[in-house]
């Protein structure tokens, strides 16, 4: 059963990645990436990493994907009228993806104890103890890096010459 679940996840990842290669609208690409990330978070849960699965949903779907959406909306040029040459009418693609994700979730939540017998979980407590124990300096370095990124983004966006 766990093999079936992972095969379904592989199918979802394959479908969304193939869709990323052919879609024209960046917004469709972002939505496909979001479905792919949700499937990956389920894969992480199956692999015995519930903390990372939660982080995947919170950080990737919650923050990084929203960042992509903001960038796409800022980049979108309002002048081109989009000649409506859509070769995929309707909503069958996201509908199919939603059905697949629902099937995966049903399998996951009905057979969860069986999965836990296959791969033992490593809970958030052990991760936290490792992060703030032997890896404390690395964690602080990453915090410093993220702080530096804020400054770098401000420096990139600064304009000296026009409309100051």
């Amino acid at each position: 059963m766990i093999v079936l679940l992972v095969l379904l996840l592989a199918l979802i990842v394959l479908m969304t990645s193939a869709a990323l290669l052919v879609v024209r609208d960046p917004m469709h690409g972002a939505v496909n990436l979001g479905i792919s990330l949700l499937a990956l978070s389920i894969l992480f849960l199956v692999l015995g990493a519930p903390f990372v699965a939660a982080l995947e949903v919170m950080l990737y779907v919650g923050a990084i994907l929203v960042l992509f959406l903001f960038a796409i909306m800022l980049l979108r040029t309002p002048v081109q009228p989009e000649p409506e040459a859509r070769w995929r009418p309707g909503f069958w693609w996201p509908g199919m993806l939603v059905v697949l994700l629902a099937a995966v979730l049903i399998i996951l939540f009905t057979r969860r104890p069986l999965f836990l017998a296959v791969i033992r979980e490593i809970g958030p407590a052990m991760i936290g103890r490792a992060l703030f124990g032997p890896y404390l300096w690395l964690t602080e370095a990453v915090a410093l890096l993220l702080f530096a990124v804020i400054g770098a983004v401000l420096a990139i966006q600064r304009r000296e010459d026009h409309d100051a």
């Binding site: 990330l37 950080l59 991760i127 992060l131 690395l138 990453v142």
Partner: protein, 103 residues
């Protein structure tokens, strides 16, 4: 069996990311491909952690997440700047920049 299938998923993600970076011309899709590459690395790290039942894999994944977020913030800011300065969001806009610099 599950771990091998997860490695297959990682390979799929890696191939898709490389294909996105090489084939698409839109810079947004290039960044999406970069995220797919980071996710492939994360899957491999988690498979290693599950195989040897160690928390190091998950710690590595947490660091990869922070690094990919930092890289993405920088590149998205650069992308917006490219759009402002050059008026395009495809790879061709960047090639135009190089030709101007060569002249």
């Amino acid at each position: 069996m599950t771990l091998e299938l997860a490695l297959v998923i990682a390979a799929l993600l890696f191939l898709a990311g490389i294909a996105l970076i090489l084939l698409r011309r839109n810079l947004i899709f290039l960044l999406l491909g970069m995220e797919l590459l980071f996710n492939a690395a994360m899957v491999i790290a988690l498979v290693g952690g599950a195989r040897w039942h160690s928390s190091t894999g998950q710690v590595l994944v947490v660091f990869i997440m922070a690094l990919s977020g930092a890289a993405l913030a920088l590149t998205l800011a650069l992308l917006l700047r490219v759009k402002q300065e050059l008026g395009g969001d495809t790879v061709d806009a960047l090639r135009h920049l190089r030709e101007e610099a060569d002249e």
